[in-house]
Assembly symmetry: C2
Homo-oligomer: 102 residues x 2
DNA sequence: TCACCATATCGGCTACATCCGATATGTAGA
DNA sequence: TCTACATATCGGATGTAGCCGATATGGTGA
């Protein structure tokens, strides 16, 4: 279930094309990211986004935090790494909400 | 059909909650707007949005222009009025695009 | 403990978004 | 033509977004 506040926050998160790309890249990790120490199924670690988009570490970290605050991705911390993965339920609910309310 | 640029522009347009409300209000004109000189089926004239949200004429005009540039609404000019109506095809295509790409 | 690595956060800069009042444009009717 | 009205556009003030380098935080392994 997506509340009205959630919806606004999600739409703000998606208003930046780079953040949308982040989400899209995560749909097909094998095609968009190089191999990493841990299996891609655990999620994608922050570095991978940095390499892929070429922006600074702090900028990428900020974008990922925005996606997480909006509930579109979740994180798994393993040691010094933070693995990001799509929150498929939230994404589906959001689109469903748009479909019925927009 | 929604291109990638369209998608970005639409998402930017939807990143403002007031603009989202404008679109939602237009789904049920009878419930959200008072009667106007011309029938609501022609579209909603700009004044109605002003009254409903309480912001200034110039601000509302700007928001409506943003929605139109994004292709989410179209306008019909009749005399001194501009009637806004939802572009249902564009809205549907956009949501469908999100569903398959996001 | 110490050096290294991954990530998060901070401070500062620049660009864009949002709001307003004032003004321009264009239509309608006396 | 003159006035009133609806809308669009302009200019300026303020807030937010996005970017960076520098630094803080916290795990890893020698």
């Amino acid at each position: 279930m997506v509340t009205m506040m959630d919806k606004t926050e999600i739409l703000k998160a998606l208003s930046n094309p780079l953040r949308v790309e982040f989400l899209e890249w995560m749909r097909q990790p094998e095609e968009n990211f190089s191999s990493q120490a841990h299996p891609l199924e655990m999620g994608i670690c922050a570095q991978q986004f940095e390499r892929r988009c070429g922006l600074s570490q702090s900028t990428v970290s900020g974008h990922l935090a925005t996606l997480e605050k909006a509930g579109l991705v979740s994180t798994t911390k393993v040691g010094q790494w933070t693995f990001y993965h799509r929150n498929e339920d939230a994404i589906r609910d959001f689109i469903e909400t748009l479909k019925t309310s927009l």
